[in-house]
């Protein structure tokens, strides 16, 4: 074994969506500070398998902080104690030996648990289907440099577009609100000339879908921004509010 840290994990175990679920405690020995948090789970799972037990199910894929698949609510915070970091990029050097770490799944009505720490985030996809796009068929495009876009707008749009759709904002929010996620996509398009034709219908449809999915409303606590691994700004929510109000008052549709 490569390390000398000893960790006690309290992990949420839940067989399926209908199971009530409970915490299980697992000591993990020989943890290296260079391990990622998920690699520590690999070590735990390897041991559980060797003991004939069922390993902990958790979502993960790229393990480099960009796919947004990993979740985990660690010691009361989504993606753990560091800022600007997903669970897969959290390393054990951020903990001390003999620490007890409590790991729970994202909890929200709109994110039902599938098994253990894996949750269903398909509500995000449905919000995107409602309006998170620019309606341009393949082949319709003009030359890419035909419309200049100021660097400031391009950079701000990019900052919003960096959202990885992990759902930490929902997990962190006391109201399980998805407004940071939704507003990031709305902002990206609202800041670009390409996004203007559908600007009003987009915000109306995406907000309606967000509400229908069972996310809560925003009370501006700022927890989402603080926990977002990509630093998506609250100003996006303000922009969405502004666009939404504007769209409702000025839309030609009855």
């Amino acid at each position: 074994m490569s390390g000398n840290m000893n960790i006690t994990l309290k992990v949420w175990r839940q067989k399926n969506k209908d199971d009530r679920g409970r915490f299980e405690t697992y000591p993990v020995q020989g943890v290296s500070p260079d391990m990622s948090f998920l690699e520590m789970f690999d070590v735990l799972n390897e041991r559980l398998i060797n003991e004939g037990k069922e390993p902990v199910a958790f979502d993960h894929d790229c393990r480099e902080g960009i796919c947004g698949m990993c979740s985990m609510y660690i010691n009361g915070r989504p993606h753990g104690p560091l800022q600007g970091v997903t669970t897969c990029q959290l390393h054990m050097r951020s903990f001390k030996t003999n620490d007890t770490i409590v790991v729970e799944p994202w909890r929200a009505k709109a994110f039902p648990v599938i098994k253990d720490l894996a949750v269903d985030r398909s509500s995000f996809d449905r919000i995107m289907s409602a309006g998170g796009f620019i309606s341009v068929n393949t082949g319709n495009a003009q030359d890419a440099n035909a419309t200049p876009i100021g660097k400031e707008d391009a950079d701000t749009a990019f900052a919003a577009a960096m959202c990885i759709g992990c759902g930490a904002c929902v997990a962190a929010c006391k109201n399980a609100s998805a407004m940071l996620f939704v507003s990031a996509k709305i902002s990206q398009f609202a800041l670009l000339p390409q996004g203007q034709p559908e600007r009003k219908s987009r915000v109306s449809k995406m907000v309606a879908q967000m509400d229908a999915e069972g996310f809560g409303s925003c009370t501006n606590t700022g927890a989402c921004e603080a926990e977002c691994p990509k630093g998506i700004s609250l100003s996006n929510i303000a922009r969405m509010n502004r666009d939404y109000i504007n769209a409702q008052f000025t839309s030609q549709q009855m």
């Binding site: 501006n220 929510i237 509010n241």
Partner: protein, 223 residues
């Protein structure tokens, strides 16, 4: 008006109601505090009573009073319904929460702070508004509003209650002031710091002025 009610029913629309009514109530606080601060003239309530009389008889103010109550009721009812709705959005609570690491406790406790304020408000209305509007104590010329204040603020528990309530008000405003602007979509790199700072000053200054009133009367600093 279907689009309008639909908008107000959406998550953003409901926030909008909270924000707009909140800002309206803030504007009321300014007027209320301004008139009441006349007691600090320390002229035996002469100026204050004039102000009070104006407020009690001017038709515009009396009309606004109805709007004010409507706004207040809307703020309270919407606040409760939103809080209840939001509680349902997380059917299973987290076992461990480190919410203090990502947000301020008072921003998460607006419902609680608001409830404390509501209790205070009922007592406060009973103390002054009911007395001045629904009895002839003041309108009949038996006592002035200033004298009524002196009577009410002669009891220690009342003074303590008022002061504690003003602490609630301070925290409620500390989040609510800047939050209302955010809800209305007024967020800009250049101006948001100004709004936030104004909010902080406002939420300290006005509750402090209000809190001083019962205190100075109880201590007899103002006669």
């Amino acid at each position: 008006m279907s689009w309008f009610s639909k908008m107000l029913g959406s998550s953003i629309g409901q926030k909008l109601i909270m924000g707009v009514t909140g800002l309206f109530l803030i504007s009321f606080l300014v007027v209320h505090c301004g008139i009441n601060a006349l007691i600090f003239m320390n002229d035996g309530g002469q100026t204050f009573n004039k102000g009070a009389e104006f407020m009690g008889t001017n038709w515009l103010i009396r009309t606004m009073e109805i709007v004010l109550f409507a706004g207040l009721l809307l703020h309270i009812i919407k606040g409760y319904s939103l809080t209840r709705q939001n509680l349902n959005k997380r059917p299973v609570e987290y076992a461990v929460s480190a919410a203090n690491k990502n947000s301020k406790w008072y921003s998460r406790s607006m419902g609680l702070l608001g409830t404390l304020l509501l209790i205070f408000l009922i007592i406060h209305l009973k103390h002054f508004w009911i007395t001045s509007r629904f009895t002839d104590q003041i309108t009949g010329g038996h006592i002035t509003l200033y004298e009524e204040m002196k009577i009410i603020f002669s009891e220690l528990w009342v003074v303590v209650l008022y002061m504690l309530s003003m602490i609630s008000l301070g925290y409620h405003l500390l989040h609510g002031f800047q939050s209302a602007f955010q809800t209305l979509g007024l967020n800009h790199k250049r101006y948001t710091p100004l709004i936030k700072n104004t909010g902080v000053i406002f939420s300290i200054l006005f509750p402090l002025l209000f809190a001083l009133m019962p205190l100075v009367m109880y201590l007899g600093i103002i006669k």
